[in-house]
């Protein structure tokens, strides 16, 4: 059987839509088969929650009197530098930015207690931040210095725009070296002391639609507690990855550029992270609805933790030097068990993505669709390397 996005939206409006989370359909398909599950379920909701460094917010500030031209000058939020290379009142703050005074890794490993992510978190939590700007004066923008305390609603606009989120599949990081290393994959103890992974597994948005048949440019998504959109392929998007038999890529591949209104976001789904020895980052809750357009969509959405495998990569040498890993693959089920085996050694696992929060995201998106508060959008174009399903 097949259905279209219009049919699903009509059911959402009529209050008759059937929604299941990406974890729920794993069991449903195992029990009743792909065909029956396709008939029964209209939409599958996914979710993830983890640090995504390529995230930031662009702001438009209301002008001061006299007016100031931030563009070409210097700006900072609570001492954290932002980018002022646009027009007079448009600023961009990335989540990994840290203050000039921060010792960074000069005192190793650096603590990175406050950065762009924390400014964004402060604003979403309802706190005020101090904006400081210094620039040159012009005839139309004479002011040279400006300092003001602003809350989130004081900005004319505050838009989260993330050039790369939602990596499809990610490495399992280990350390074959002789000293503890501090990476974006967390602290890795020497001699295979631990293994860190970063994925929501059977809930992960792009793992549940591995060939990107239902997600494309223009797809409406759940981001940070509100509605947002996929606006472009993410940076470093791999259009034609090598795939396993079940359609999943073998290595990190598809990524998404996403957008959403920061003013509508909730601290429940946005958290600043201080990754020791690495830097600051922003953990974001993102959920993508998968319209069940045909049986293949359902078959992919029902891939379970046992069938999703990840490459194990050494972050002491192989990753920084760009050498191939070759430490084998492990399944999500093994990773979730708390231990994996690498090179014959039992290694404790820890995750950077919160499965518990990913569930919250998928459940919240499910309830919004069921309540008629979230309808599905038809992608306006496929992502590079993908072909959209009929009905999209």
């Amino acid at each position: 059987m097949t259905r279209t996005i219009e049919e699903i939206n009509a059911k959402i409006k009529a209050g008759k839509v059937v929604v299941a989370t990406a974890e729920e359909v794993v069991g449903l398909v195992r029990e009743k088969g792909v065909k029956a599950a396709t008939q029964a379920v209209d939409v599958v909701t996914t979710g993830t929650f983890g640090p995504m460094c390529s995230s930031g917010v662009y702001f438009n500030i209301r002008q001061s009197t006299p007016k100031i031209k931030c563009g070409g000058g210097k700006v900072a939020f609570n001492g954290v530098p932002a980018y002022a290379g646009w027009a007079a009142a448009d600023l961009l703050l990335g989540c990994t930015a840290v203050s000039e005074e921060d010792p960074r890794n000069a005192v190793y490993p650096g603590l990175f207690s406050y950065g762009g992510a924390h400014v964004i978190q402060d604003l979403v939590q309802g706190k005020v931040v101090k904006l400081t700007a210094s620039t040159y004066g012009t005839d139309c923008y004479p002011r040279k210095e400006y300092s003001v305390e602003l809350g989130l609603q004081d900005f004319a606009s505050a838009v989260m725009f993330n050039p790369r989120n939602c990596y499809q599949l990610y490495n399992v990081a280990v350390n074959l070296g002789k000293r503890t290393i501090y990476t974006y994959m967390g602290v890795l103890k020497p001699g295979l002391g631990n293994a860190n992974f970063a994925t929501a597994g059977a809930l992960s948005p792009l793992l549940k639609d591995p060939t990107l048949r239902t997600v494309g440019i223009g797809t409406r998504i759940f981001i940070g507690g509100t509605e947002g959109y996929v606006v472009w392929p993410g940076t470093q998007h791999v259009a034609e990855p090598q795939r396993l038999a079940n359609g999943l890529p073998q290595s990190p591949s598809a990524t998404l550029a996403v957008i959403g209104d920061l003013k509508q976001m909730s601290p429940q789904y946005l958290r600043a992270a201080s990754i020791v020895g690495y830097g600051t980052s922003l953990a974001i809750g993102i959920g993508i609805p998968i319209p069940v357009l045909d049986e293949q969509v359902m078959a992919h959405a029902a891939i379970g933790d046992g069938e999703i495998t990840f490459p194990i990569v050494d972050y002491a040498e192989a990753y920084p030097l760009g050498r191939p890993g070759g430490l084998g693959r492990v399944s999500m089920t093994e990773l979730l068990s708390g231990h994996i085996e690498v090179d014959g050694k039992k290694v404790a696992t820890g995750c950077l993505t919160s499965r518990a929060k990913a569930r919250e995201v998928a459940a919240e998106l499910k309830s919004r669709i069921q309540n008629g508060g979230f309808t599905l959008s038809r992608p306006v174009a496929p992502l590079p390397g993908a072909e959209l399903a009929q009905g999209c």
């Binding site: 929650f49 983890g50 640090p51 490993p109 501090y182 967390g186 602290v187 103890k189 631990n194 293994a195 860190n196 958290r271 600043a272 992270a273 201080s274 990754i275 020791v276 020895g277 980052s281 953990a283 979730l336 708390g338 404790a348 696992t349 820890g350 995750c351 950077l352 993505t353 919160s354 499965r355 518990a356 929060k357 569930r359």
Partner: protein, 135 residues
Amino acid sequence: MAIKKVVLNFPPRLIQEPVTYHLVRDYDLQVNIMRALVRPREKGRMVLELTGSQANMDKAFEYLDQVGVQVDALVQELRYNPDLCVHCTACTAFCPTGALSVDPDSRKIVFDASHCILCESCIPACAYRAIECQF
């Protein structure tokens, strides 16, 4: 047999005293020193796990009280703040005793203070500063 985890606080004048020796020799206690922080002319602190008979344990605490060593329960030393925790589980691979573990069903972090030995390995692993050490 009683087992107790305690924090001993030594005033500067007692830093030269062999207090642990007395606990072993006079009160027949097994002493497992989990952490110690002693600086000359400052207060010293020591985290101990004591094993012995209840009667000896009571006498040992009396002795500690008499010489002026303040004894605190260990429970408040490492604080896990569930409001700051996002349940990513990065800390669990670092915890040598299983005090921090993952509930396999909810995938949420469970902190059992009675297993914590204050090694602080979990602290750099937490990006959300949800674990704080008071030691």
